[in-house]
């Protein structure tokens, strides 16, 4: 009897978990749909998406993140150069290291590290801000004023994210490649100019686009996960903390999984 | 809202009628500001104002401040009771120059 009850209980919990997951997916799809609606139809509905709001978000998400992105990208570039040379030395092929660095940076590491960083910085901030606004009835307050919270709060963040994340990724590409180049040219006693030339001939536009396309997807993921978690906050300040953490974990998981799926689908 | 202007001895009398609300107050503001820029003395006849909202009051406030700066005259005349209640709510009845009738305002 007890065992059966326990199994039923477990199934019950599993069902709830699944249904919550499915409903969150539905929520996410609806949210993206509604955001696009306001972006396109806002003016006709006398609720245009304000450029100033997008700009403010872009500053926060993009410009303020430049120093830390620069540092991390430089570190990753160096790390790739060090590991790359170490690995290739076993075959005596360390001069071929540039190919590995260039491709893995542009296609993989830059978008990934930028996405994860922005998820931690801005995705969580978005979740915390919306969560706090929700428990303070600020969201209700917008609604009863006849101001769509999606139009007013979500769309500016989404647009800013979709614009800034690829730009940050591009910057991270540049920084990481230069940092790697500095190490490579010092270690292998070649000139930085030769390294740059090599990178330019090796890299195809396709590789760059591969990375940027992913960063666009990450931008949507980070925003949507942040908004969903923020919007489902219940239970006061503690709830805000819980959902903020959840948003970071979910956003990073979503980024890593999507990255793999994207690479699998596009690269083969 | 209906707005009519006439001139009496060099003073412009603006007669407001009906509801001065969000949709109409910009027109009132534009007219008053033009008159103020021309440095005219203005009486605003408010005896037939059925309703005036905050944006209408704000237009009057802005024009009144400008009239004082230019040392012109802007007087509210025969303020209807709905309009008066709104003025009183913000204690503006103690700020504006208010007269009982156009004649009284012109005579005084």
């Amino acid at each position: 009897m007890r065992a059966v009850a326990r199994i039923v209980d477990a199934l019950d919990r599993l069902g709830r978990y699944v249904s919550r997951g499915v409903s969150e997916f539905g929520f996410a799809a609806a949210l993206v749909g509604e955001s696009l609606f306001w972006l396109v139809m806002g003016r006709a509905r006398r609720q245009p998406v304000r450029l100033s709001a997008i700009f403010a978000q872009a500053m926060d998400i993009g410009i303020a993140a430049v120093p830390i992105i620069t540092m991390l990208a430089a570190t990753i570039g160096m790390m790739l150069a060090i590991q790359g040379i170490y690995t290739l030395r076993t075959f005596g092929a360390e001069s071929r290291v540039t190919l590995g660095i260039a491709l893995s940076t542009v296609r993989e590491f830059s978008p990934l590290i930028t996405g994860i960083l922005v998820a931690g910085r801005s995705g969580s901030a978005l979740a915390a801000r919306l969560g706090t606004m929700r428990i303070n009835q600020e969201i209700d307050s917008l609604t009863v004023m006849g101001i769509s919270p999606v139009r007013f709060l979500v769309v500016p963040a989404l647009v800013a994210m979709v614009v800034m994340l690829p730009l940050l990724t591009l910057w991270a590409d540049l920084v990481a490649l230069v940092a790697a180049g500095l190490y490579v040219s010092a270690e292998l006693q070649t000139s930085l100019a030769a390294y740059v030339d090599e990178v330019i001939t090796l890299l195809k536009l396709n590789d760059l686009l591969h990375g940027l396309a992913k960063s666009c997807i990450f931008a949507v993921l980070v925003t949507v996960v942040g908004v969903i978690n923020g919007a489902s906050v219940t239970g006061g300040a503690e709830g805000v903390g819980r959902m903020t953490t959840r948003s970071v974990v979910h956003a990073i998981s979503a980024i890593v999984i999507t990255d793999m799926v994207f690479a699998f689908m596009v690269t083969r | 809202m209906n707005m009519q202007t006439r001139e009496v001895n060099g003073t412009v009398v603006v007669e407001l009628q009906g509801e001065v609300d969000l949709g109409h107050s910009p027109r009132l503001r534009k007219l008053l500001m033009e008159l103020m820029l021309e440095r005219r003395d203005v009486l605003v006849d408010m005896s037939r104002v059925a309703y005036i909202d905050s944006s209408g009051i704000a237009s009057l406030v802005e024009a009144y401040q400008m009239s004082r700066k230019n040392a012109n005259r802007l007087t509210l005349v025969a303020v209807s009771s709905p309009a008066m209640r709104v003025l009183q709510l913000a204690r503006l009845d103690k700020v504006f120059a208010i007269a009982d009738s156009v004649d009284a305002a012109l005579g005084g």
Binding site: E138 | L22, D53, S55
Partner: protein, 268 residues
């Protein structure tokens, strides 16, 4: 008398599977101050949220300023909401904006008024609620009473036909609470707006109400003038007025089950 500002008919609502409001019907007349009273758990907050169109009822209709708030199209609803002001319990001021920006927001979003006019209207409303000179402060720098007054200023910035106040005097000292009651009375007298106040403060209710709606356990216990409520022979009303707790009937079976923790599994 013209058509009522609010018309609620047979409103039935649920939270999950729990019934919150049982067949609530009430009218708010044009230019009237109706106070909705009831202890916690009486459903008064739920009723308010339905009047604001924030929740969808199980059955029944809510007509606000002549429009069925659950059936009109979004543009009409948006237009309707510009004629309604709401002062939430906690103020719900946007913490990222100054007091002045908070109050000006509905004007900025919904009108094409000149910035000078918006500025004057904003400061005018601050004057009305006796907060002159506070426009550049952030909400976090205000005291509880000031936040409530600022919220009231924002609620009336569009000169609404209908004003909702949720617990306008809760948590304030008696002097400040009385000043807010006076303010509500002055607003009605000057602007002729219909006002719905939700409160559990008896003294304040008796002072400002034209009529009082008493909610108890999701039902309208009484809906009458202040005097009629005060002299009502109904025992439950008198209990609520005199703050006597009611001796609930004990069902031994259910009581024992509760104590033993044998919950019914009726969660969805």
């Amino acid at each position: 008398m013209t058509s009522p500002a609010i018309e609620v008919r047979n409103l039935v609502t649920h939270y999950g599977s729990r019934q919150i409001l049982r067949n609530v019907s009430l009218d708010v007349n044009e230019g009237e101050i109706l106070v909705i009273m009831g202890g916690s758990g009486s459903g008064k907050t739920t009723l308010l949220n339905h009047l604001l169109g924030l929740l969808t009822p199980t059955s029944g209709t809510v007509r606000v300023l002549g429009k069925d708030i659950n059936a009109i199209d979004p543009l009409e609803l948006q237009e309707l909401r510009t004629r309604i002001g709401v002062a939430f319990q906690g103020g719900a001021l946007f913490s990222s904006m100054t007091v002045g920006e908070n109050i000006a927001l509905p004007l900025r979003e919904h009108t094409k008024l000149d910035v000078t006019t918006i500025g004057i209207v904003t400061r005018l409303k601050l004057e009305v609620v006796s907060l002159a000179g506070f426009e550049d402060l952030m909400p976090s720098e205000l005291s509880g009473g000031m936040i409530k007054r600022a919220a009231l200023a924002r609620a009336i910035v569009m000169d609404p036909r209908l004003l909702f106040c949720d617990e306008p005097s809760a948590g304030l000292d008696p002097v400040v609470a009385a000043s807010i009651d006076d303010l509500i009375l002055r607003l009605r007298d000057a602007m002729g707006m219909s006002i719905v106040v939700v409160t559990h403060d008896l003294e304040s209710a008796f002072k400002i109400a034209d009529r009082i709606c008493m909610l108890d356990k999701g039902e309208v216990l009484a809906l009458d003038t202040v005097d009629a409520i005060r002299t009502s022979p109904n025992e439950r009303i008198q209990n609520l007025l005199n703050r006597r707790t009611e001796e609930a009937e004990i069902d031994p079976d259910a009581y024992l089950k509760r104590l033993l923790g044998e919950k019914k599994k009726d969660r969805i």
